[in-house]
Amino acid sequence: MAQSFLVDTSEPAKDHFDARNDLELIAAINNGDAAAFEALYFRHRDWVVGLAHRFTGDSDSALDVMQETFLYFLRKFPGFRLTASLKTFLYPAVRNLSIAARNKASRYQATATELERIEHTPASEAVETGIGDLAVVLAGLSEDHREVLLLRFVDGLSLAEIAQAAETPLGTVKSRLHNALELLRRDERTKEFFER
């Protein structure tokens, strides 16, 4: 069973475009500018939902986590100071809230309907075999290995940002990434990506 690691959401961020960068928006929010918070919310909402979905595997839980994450972020104002990228700041919050949501959800057994839904996720209907194989292999990796690959090649975080977001030493991040790539390289289903 392959899991989908990316999400498509309704109301894309482009409808809420704001030319200011994150630092400028945060400065405005510190001055009480609610419109600046709205711009920042839509700018990062989809990424937070996608990340929460990666951790929880459930759309409803992902939405709850997304809401809680932004409410947690809102409580930092006024006086919030961004010292790294906003993704780096939000990542631990999303992860921790997702773990809590997942633990809460695990109390309930999956129903037959839910199992059927999982069986027919878009991942199992991948047009390209290679991509489907990648999803399957990723699903079989440990969470640490999978997460470092997705943060690096899907979310575009630098190694330093991953280390800060995951609250892990940079050396450990590099080691995990190296080992994860090595696993993909050795797997029959994904080694083709490494062949010239």
């Binding site: 999400v7 609610a34 919310y41 979905h53 809401q67 409410l71 809102l74 390209e128 899907v154």
Partner: protein, 156 residues
């Protein structure tokens, strides 16, 4: 979705991913998640409420700090001046003839000056009781006469 240049120049060797793999990541299956407008509104409504509260003008206490400091310094200065001057006014004032500072002009003060004269010449306005510019036996007599006069008068 970011697919461009995930292998930045600062990446260590062995941490590079082939472009084919990077492209494959961007094409991973996607879950369609519908985000109800109510979900967005709940967050944004809370943001509007909280930020409106934080924007409301507060009394600029900080601007008054220099004024408070000046006022405190002025009070301290006045208090110092009061204490210094007050201490002087509280100090007991003795009559010029009351050489032993016992609060009375009597024969003991005459004896005190006589003893000082016996030890050697004395000078200073505190010893020139009669105002002739010199501290001598005539000043002793002046004190003695004063003492007798006071005794004759008796307590009033």
């Amino acid at each position: 979705m970011q697919t461009a240049n995930h292998n930045d120049g600062h990446d260590d060797e062995g941490l590079q991913a082939p472009q084919k793999l990077v492209a494959a990541f961007s094409q991973l299956p996607r879950e369609r998640i519908f985000i109800p407008r109510t979900v967005d509104e709940a967050v944004l409504r809370e943001a509007r409420r909280k930020l409106a509260k934080s924007e409301s003008p507060k009394f600029p206490w900080r601007r008054l700090i220099p004024h408070f400091a000046m006022a405190a310094a002025l009070v301290a200065l006045l208090a110092y001046g009061f204490i210094r001057n007050g201490s002087r006014s509280l100090a007991p004032v003795f009559a010029r003839e009351d050489l032993n500072h016992d609060g009375r002009v009597d024969i003991l003060d005459a004896f005190a000056l006589a003893r000082q004269l016996k030890a050697g010449p004395v000078s200073g306005p505190g010893r020139d009781i009669n105002g002739d510019g010199v501290g001598d036996e005539r000043d002793v007599e002046t004190i003695a006469a004063q003492a007798v006069r006071l005794e004759k008068r008796g307590p009033s």
